[in-house]
């Protein structure tokens, strides 16, 4: 039993991202309001960004800035002393993508509101059926 808990706690970052992902997915599927759906979508994307961020981390490591760079005499850099910068860099791009998606989605929501005067999905479908 304690084995299971240690297993669970040691990978807490995964549990957090999975929980966030499920919250986002739930909102996207179950919510009726389009803006809530969009928020769910954003949570979903953020969960994956957090997942990437967390996999770069290392115990006892520092930020990956090598203080004596070029020009000084060469010395050994231990990779274990620095956290992995690559996932973080990737996520810069992913954040941009997420923001762009959010922007497009919100713009579409504004259009939908103009068209149907509501953001509740059931009411919109009702109006489509009536027309």
């Amino acid at each position: 039993m304690s084995d299971f808990f240690s297993h669970l706690v040691a990978r807490y970052n995964y549990w957090i991202y999975i929980t966030l992902m499920m919250i986002g997915l739930y909102a996207m599927i179950a919510k009726n309001n389009l803006v809530k759906k969009i928020i769910g979508m954003n949570i979903f994307q953020t969960a994956i960004i957090l997942f990437y961020i967390s996999i770069g981390a290392k115990k006892g490591a520092t930020i990956p800035i090598i203080s004596h760079g070029s020009g000084h005499e060469a010395h050994v850099v231990k990779a274990a002393d620095y956290i992995n910068p690559l996932p973080h860099v990737l996520m810069l791009t992913a954040i941009v993508v997420a923001v762009a998606t959010l922007g497009v989605a919100l713009a579409l929501a504004v259009q939908v509101y103009r068209q149907y005067k509501t953001l509740e999905e059931d009411e919109i479908l009702q109006k489509i059926r009536e027309s």
């Binding site: 759906k37 994307q45 994956i48 690559l86 996932p87 791009t93 497009v104 579409l108 259009q111 068209q115």
Partner: protein
């Protein structure tokens, strides 16, 4: 210049998008020519690349001169060179064909439209050309986000359909990203060939298997494989016709390419087809896709909506063919990417032409069309014959390889599904041809005129483009042997028999 071709096919359209957006402010008449020039350059580059690949084999391009595992690499081989040509050529032809509609449909918005259009094509070309798994995600999102915007430019329910597509598309892309994250944890690399070199000892790892399955689900969502197809029919039906004839033929096909690339290059056939043991299940999924797509298509009364369901069935063809795991099946799948791209393009173009003149695509709008638009309907019939799978149109040959693959793999469900879908397609298209051929044109019937209504074709540019594509279908069929022998065969690893 020659050495830079792989990057030019992405950079030229990308930069031209800014130029077009700027031209939209100053002189809107410059938008379309700029886009055409950019896509023309891209098309020439893809053709040049294809020839180079056929002559010298694989072409590798390092962006910024950075070597493989650190920098991003563009890699053109026998698998993606023909897909590149397909994407660039269809985008170019569609641009020219629909320029007239765009001016009439989006007055004042040409700058935005063409900028999005070119960006979308950039995304697709980049996805196909790149050899980097994360780069692929970024380009996938470029294509998707511009795709959402383009679809939302349509009338009526287009915006809502597009928003629905945003949700589903984002889930798909995120799944792909998540899977790549797991692969990165396991291998520490994002370069496709690099990942592939690290993976074999890890094939039994649960994380790798999970990563593979998550990536596949993401890709299937994006290509609308049944039962993940819900977003597609509305999005493509309500999109403006200049957009649907671009997005519908290309997006799903490029995603199928991505799937095959992941199966063959990132993972090995030995893993996908033997170690994983999911072949049968996925092929049955494809069978279900084919049956459901065909049956749903039968229920539609709108031409464009019917085409979208046929698209879903065709996705089943390619996924099933790829997962049969033998040479014939994969040949069929790769060949069908090219052929299906062409034939759906042909049909959506024809639908666009009809919509331009008739202002509706329901069954009753199609009455008397053979008399009214004989050339458009001629192109439509050739496209239809190709989808049904009548030689010498190209659709026959990919279907031939797919069925042959099914027979060789002993998967008779897939064989039956393909034959069934051919027969259903026969019914689907001849139902439309009957309406167009037998029933008199509705307007003239109301007026009580006896004499036949006169011809009223779509603008010359649209008709000529359609006929070029239609003859392309026949040419691609006549040269099917060469295409398979010189290109497709070499795209499939020798380990697959």
């Amino acid at each position: 210049m020659n050495a830079q071709m792989p990057v030019l096919i992405v950079v030229v359209p990308l930069l031209s998008a800014f130029a077009i957006a700027a031209a939209g402010w100053f002189n809107r008449r410059l938008c379309m020519p700029t886009a055409a020039a950019a896509l023309g350059v891209a098309t020439l580059c893809t053709l040049g690349l294809l020839l180079r690949v056929i002559q010298d084999g694989e072409v590798v391009y390092r962006l910024g001169g950075w070597a493989a595992p650190w920098g991003i690499v563009y890699r053109v081989d026998f698998l993606n060179a023909p897909v590149l040509v397909l994407v660039a050529a269809i985008a170019l032809v569609n641009l020219v064909a629909t320029s007239r509609i765009v001016v009439e449909e989006f007055p004042g918005k040409e700058g935005a439209f063409y900028a999005l259009y070119v960006l979308f094509v950039t995304g697709l070309l980049g996805m196909v050309v790149t050899g980097d798994a994360f780069n692929l995600y970024v380009l996938l999102e470029i294509a998707s986000i511009t795709g959402y915007a383009l679809i939302a430019m349509g009338r009526g329910r287009a915006v809502l359909a597009s928003l629905n597509y945003v949700f589903m598309g984002t889930i798909g892309a995120c799944f792909y990203l998540l899977g790549i994250g797991y692969l990165y944890i396991m291998t520490g690399s994002l370069n496709m060939t690099d990942i592939a070199s690290f993976l074999p000892p890890l094939y039994s790892s649960k994380a790798v298997i999970t990563a593979f399955i998550i990536i596949m689900v993401g890709v299937w969502l994006k290509m609308a494989l049944f039962p993940l197809h819900g977003w597609l029919p509305n999005a493509y039906t309500y999109a403006p016709s200049s957009v649907s004839s671009l997005v519908a033929p290309l997006m799903t096909k490029v995603m199928v390419y991505v799937m095959i690339r992941i199966i063959l290059t990132v993972f090995t056939p030995a893993f996908t087809f033997r170690a994983l043991g999911l072949n049968q299940a996925v092929v049955w999924l494809a069978v279900a896709a084919i049956f459901m797509g065909s049956l749903m298509a039968l229920a539609q009364r709108n031409l464009k909506r019917m085409l979208t369901y046929i698209l879903i069935a065709e996705v089943g063809y390619m996924v099933g063919g790829a997962w049969l795991g033998n040479r014939a099946g994969l040949t069929g799948a790769v060949l069908h990417i090219l052929n299906d791209g062409l034939m759906t393009f042909c049909l959506f173009l024809a639908a666009g032409n009809i919509l331009y003149r008739v202002r509706g695509l329901n069954m009753e709008d199609l009455r008397g069309l053979f008399r009214k638009m004989p050339f458009t309907m001629g192109g439509f019939v050739i496209g239809a014959l190709s989808i049904i799978g009548v030689p010498p149109t190209c659709g026959f040959f990919s279907k031939w390889y797919l069925i042959l693959g099914g027979i060789q793999a002993g998967h008779y469900g897939f064989v039956v599904a393909l034959l069934f879908s051919s027969l259903v397609n026969l019914i689907l298209f001849f139902r439309i041809i009957e309406v167009g051929y037998f029933e008199p044109h509705s307007e003239h019937r109301h007026e009580g005129q006896d004499h036949a209504p006169s011809m009223e074709e779509a603008p010359v540019g649209m008709v000529v483009s359609l006929l070029i594509v239609a003859s392309g279908l026949i040419l691609a069929g006549l040269y099917a042997g060469d295409i398979v022998q010189r290109v497709v065969n070499l795209a499939i690893p020798e380990s697959i028999v």
